[in-house]
Amino acid sequence: MGFEFNEKVIDHFENPRNVGELEDADIVETVGSPVCGDMLTLYIKLKDGKVNDVKFKTFGCGAAIATSSLFTELIKGKTIEEALKVTSDVVVDVIGGLPEKKVHCSLLAPDAFKQAIEKYKEKQ
């Protein structure tokens, strides 16, 4: 074993971007649960069909935190459609790879975003 994280993962773990809550979020979406070992809440503010602001809070391992952080960075400012294209594969790719056992962690944030947008659209 031993942590097999590259420098970029470690950077996002140690200096996560966009941590926190958004008071005036349009959507707040939580995926995962403590029983599964990780749980993410995404706070999203939309404007003109774009992700105007996004913040996250993650209970989870280093990879869960780092990929949450990178995801928020990647989608911020993007249109919803563009943001939906930031799948877990993209996240893993941009972060420079994850150990096999940790790849599933990168699903957390894209899943939360997708779910959030679906719910948001339903409500509209």
Binding site: M1, F3, F5, I10, F13, E14, P16, V19, G20, T30, P34, V35, C36, G37, D38, M39, L40, T41, F56, K57, T58, F59, G60, C61, G62, A64, I65, K101
Partner: protein, 391 residues
Amino acid sequence: MTSEIDRIYLDNSATTAVDRKVINAMLPFFDVKYGNASSLHSFGKEATDALESSRRKVATAVGAMPKEVYFTAGGTESNNIALQGVMLKNKSRGNHIITSSIEHPAVLETCEFLETIGFEVTYLPVDKMGIVSLDDLDGAMTDKTVLVSIMHANNEVGTIQPIREIGALSHEHGALFHTDAVQSFGKIPIDVEYNNIDLLSISGHKVHGPKGIGALYVREGTPIQPIIYGGGHERGLRSSTENIPGIVGFGKACELISTHLDKDIISMTKLRDSLIKEILDSVPKTKLNGHPTKRLCNNVNISFEAVEGEALVLSLDRTGIAASTGSACSSKNFTASHVLLSMKIPDIMALGSLRFSLSRYNTQDEISYILDKIPPMVQRLRDMSSLWKEE
């Protein structure tokens, strides 16, 4: 990350550094006295002499006779020989084995294997502190019970079982008593007579000896069969050319235990208690797992609410501190440890467990360094945790 030299190692329940004296004892057996103990010539004699001298040292350390000590490749093999070897040999006496739900996988998985070939296993529950109840044990006994296997001290939470009473109760019912002492050996005095033990597993690498060597104590006259067959080494119980350097190292490690244990216990207990007290005092919503006093002198296991344990271990690793979420094995899974769940620790706490395990080499300076690092580290993770709610 700090350089190698600066690292602080607090994962001694996973494995330990080999003592310099142990290494020095081993060295000649690699390329000077390298004979096979089964050989007739002088190289063989050197090997045999070393083998039997080490056997005496191991025996002394647990209060056994040398001929009751069998060398194995580690704690896992010792547990497997004890369980498989006794159950298969005593089929005519019965098919029932009693163990606990918080055993190491080397016992639990072996029990599950035995179940697949027709044996029956009772997994006793434990209380919130991780202790097996003697009443439960008494109630589980049947006239088919051949073996009771309850660990001496738990590898994750350090809880110590009342093995002397468990042994006595087992014997009352005509059952044999095996204890996995891999974690307690070198941290609690062990005497197989006093503690009513028929079979006992220990492992070299947990006590500053080498990896890949262990021993099984088998009380004289206990019916048992091997699981590995071959040249008939170790009086037929464990065939294979004896690992003389490993055995010599393990023997030396046992000798050091026999001479230093009392002193080691006092110093480790002091560090343990200061770690526990200071962390609980300085970090809110934090709970000690396991028993406050019936506890290994080197075990600290604390749950931090709303923090995921692995993230904490990573943070610590980044500052050069080696710790664990629990056992080395269960670190591989994402679900909470079977030990903590058996103790009815809620998931939110179980997933946030951190284990520090000390050795006689740790110092107060190291502990102070760690105590400085922990509170801000936990706070940082909580600040970004979706489960954390400041009050």
